[in-house]
């Protein structure tokens, strides 16, 4: 980070290689479409380049700092657009490939049912209040430790756990309702 703050492009490339995919997947799950998510990812990584000198490793880990920037950008986009773009604008590439952890290619066996389930889950996630969605995506999909999630959301550890429980309960309710209709 010290090298990046001095304008070392090679050092930045290394950080980019480590973090860009995780931030992109986070943004894709948080936002309504892949274009918006890609913009948020680019902006996050450019802020890392421009404001590396502001990062204090004693206060937080770099992953936490980057997710925090990305979440703030997601909220900015959300405010600008009044609401996240609905699923119909979601491109196919959002559905393909990765699992909740590392990226992987699922192959051609993706069927209509799978895509429908993915859309339902994505829709249900977007239906959650922002803090609950952030907590769930950061903890479940990004697999950040509780301490990091609490730091990003600026709440206590017990409040984070409570947010997660509410998020899962509401998500289950939304999914049950959508299966029922």
């Amino acid at each position: 980070m010290v090298a990046v703050s001095k304008g070392n492009q090679d050092a930045f490339q290394q950080l980019l290689h480590v973090h860009v995919d995780a931030i992109n997947r986070f943004a894709r799950r948080m936002s309504g479409n892949s274009h918006e998510a890609d913009d948020i990812t680019q902006e996050t990584m450019l802020r890392l380049w421009q404001h590396a000198h502001k990062f204090d490793p004693r206060r937080s880990k770099l992953t936490t700092w980057l997710h925090s920037i990305a979440r703030n950008l997601c909220m900015d986009h959300h405010r600008k657009n009044a609401r996240f773009t609905p699923l119909e604008e979601r491109s196919d590439d959002l559905c393909k490939g990765a699992t909740r952890g590392e990226p992987e290619t699922r192959g051609p066996e993706i069927n209509l049912h799978t895509i429908q389930t993915e859309s339902l889950v994505h829709g249900a996630l977007l239906g959650l209040p922002e803090r609950q969605r952030s907590a769930l995506v950061l903890s479940y999909y990004q697999q950040l430790p509780n301490q990091a999630v609490a730091e990003i959301l600026a709440v206590s550890l017990s409040a984070t756990e409570s947010l997660l429980a509410r998020a899962r309960r509401n998500l289950k309710q939304i999914l049950d309702d959508s299966h029922g209709t």
């Binding site: 492009q9 930045f12 799950r29 890609d38 000198h53 959002l94 559905c95 389930t117 903890s139 429980a165």
Partner: protein, 138 residues
């Protein structure tokens, strides 16, 4: 106590025990015979399966795109060096300013100042007119 904590953990983190806080992970193995906990576990597992189905891939072109945006031209690099975004690098513009002053100073020293009397022949004639007519004192 353990029963309640396990119920809370399943409600918050789901059935992936590896996602639970480390100090709580052992709790589940202690209560595998608890029917209520088993039911909650199965319920959480069902939701996790749905969550796991929402897989996303990252855009492989992003790295190149971001890299192209940070590649700076020579002029931009010089400007960035001259106007750094941190106070810690304030020595850079200070050095630049000092170099300019030193350059001006060295140029100033090297330039030879012409004598006001010998600058051109008209001035020489003008000053010669004030010279005494007789050279008796010489």
């Amino acid at each position: 106590m353990v029963h309640n904590r396990l119920a809370d953990l399943l409600a918050a983190y789901g059935s992936h025990i590896e996602n639970w806080p480390e100090h709580d992970q052992m709790l589940f193995s202690e209560r595998t015979d608890d029917i209520q906990i088993t039911e909650k576990f199965i319920e959480a597992q069902r939701l996790d399966q749905q969550l796991d189905s929402f897989a996303v891939s990252s855009n492989p072109n992003l790295k190149a795109l971001i890299t192209s945006k940070i590649k700076l031209h020579l002029v931009d690099r010089f400007y960035q060096w001259l106007v750094p975004n941190s106070w810690k690098l304030a020595w850079q513009p200070a050095i630049a300013a000092m170099l300019v002053v030193l350059l001006g100073f060295s140029i100033g020293i090297q330039v030879e100042q012409p004598s006001p009397l010998a600058s051109n022949w008209e001035d020489q004639l003008y000053w010669a007119a004030f010279a005494p007519e007789d050279d008796a004192y010489e």
